[in-house]
Amino acid sequence: MDSLFLANLSSPPLLFFFLGAAAAFLRSDLEIPTQIAKFLSLYLLFAIGFKGGVALAESSLDATVWQGLLAAVALSVVIPLLVFFLLSRRLPAADAAAVAATYGSVSAVTFVTCTAYLDTSNIAWSGHLVAAMALMESPAIIVGILLYRLKIAERAKAAEAAKGPEAVLGAGAGNSYDSDGISWRELLRESCLNGSVFLIVGSMIIGAVTGSRGMAQIHGFVGELFIGMLCLFLLDMGIVAARRLQELGSNSRRTDAPLPLVRLMIYAIVLPIGNAVLAGTLALLLNLPEGDALLLTILGASASYIAVPAALRLALPEASPSIYLPMSLAITFPFNLLVGIPLYHQVLRWALST
């Protein structure tokens, strides 16, 4: 077991993540300019999408592929349901729905880091897992919003039944949402046409269309640079995650925080583990090979901190980003990177060998 952990911890990308975190904790002024960070993340989506598409073109589109994709979508629908029912009593409905959407969706960088981990360990994985990742972003957002709406409607009905017309006005504040904010068309657009989702899906299609001929043309770009660019991006993520963690500490001293720090941290570690168990079990049931099983597991375990927050600020602005963002970015993300990947791998290995 130790060797997996150590190998993971001593890979350059992970070490650069630590370096970034150290910079933030020591209050160094090291900083990656925001447009550069955006560029690095666009590059990673572009490259992983293209590589996945090329791999997809070379594989036969048989039952395994469809099963894998279906499993992924199922996960991204089921996980938010579970998370919402776990949290909706402990948090305001909007926040619970936002956390549900966050954990039902995926973190592309965690996925990418996991593929780099597999490549370094010489374990094969299939290109269609990239498609699986892309498919998991949107349903989770939609489910999250739906859950919130149902809850609000249910409350409004309960209030109406119990207390008469005035209360409805209060519940109406929740509904002013409709008039004020987002239509279903907008919601679909924001969840399915989110920039990150769009780029990865688009690159995957282009990769699949142009195949190895296309790869030959841009291999120097998407291949050779990949780990280096990932290092730089994780350096930035380390800085940002550590800052959020620090702010979490100082904010938690405020008495009006909706969720005490310790509980928030516990959730942010328990949720990925629970989701990993779910996804891993599914992977085993589907007889996925080692690499694919680990990737599906990490898709389940990871939580979005780019695509979903961006979409949620539009679709659910009443949810406080100071809950779902630090949970996924400052705790779950590093947890998966440092502990999760080798841990899930170890467990899957053990399960596969028995």
């Binding site: 900083e31 925001t34 960070a37 955006k38 993340s41 002013s176 004020d180 904010g181 930035d236 800085i239 940002v240 800052r243 959020r244 702010e247 904010n251 901190y305 780019i306 927050p309 961006a310 600020r313 539009l314 602005p317 009443e318 406080s320 980003p321 100071s322 963002l325 970015l329």
Partner: protein, 98 residues
């Protein structure tokens, strides 16, 4: 030069598109948008450092010489701000006509 109101709105960048659309609907004669600001307010620090744009602000500046429109903008903007945070300041200015 013509008397006008200068409306200044700070809102998170993720909502800038929605705010611009709202201003159009409300009949603002125009606006200028300064992106990528950071800040601190009731909802804590927004460092402008994260890849989501959730913790980044932007600044809208609107010059408007019609008091009714100003009032409409102020009212229309208020609901957006109350859900997402931010500030809106109104001050007097002279608009140099060219």
């Amino acid at each position: 030069m013509k008397a006008c109101k200068r409306v200044e709105i700070v809102i998170e960048e993720a909502l800038s598109g929605r705010m611009a659309g709202r201003l159009d609907e409300l009949g603002a004669p125009g606006y200028t948008l300064i992106p990528r600001a950071s800040g601190r307010g009731d909802r804590g620090l927004r460092r402008g450092d994260d890849p989501t744009g959730t913790l980044t602000n932007c600044v809208f500046i609107i010059a408007c010489d019609d008091d009714e429109t100003v009032q409409r903008i102020v009212d229309g903007v208020r609901t957006l701000l109350s859900r997402s945070g931010g500030i809106c300041l109104v001050s007097d200015a002279l608009w140099v006509r060219h």
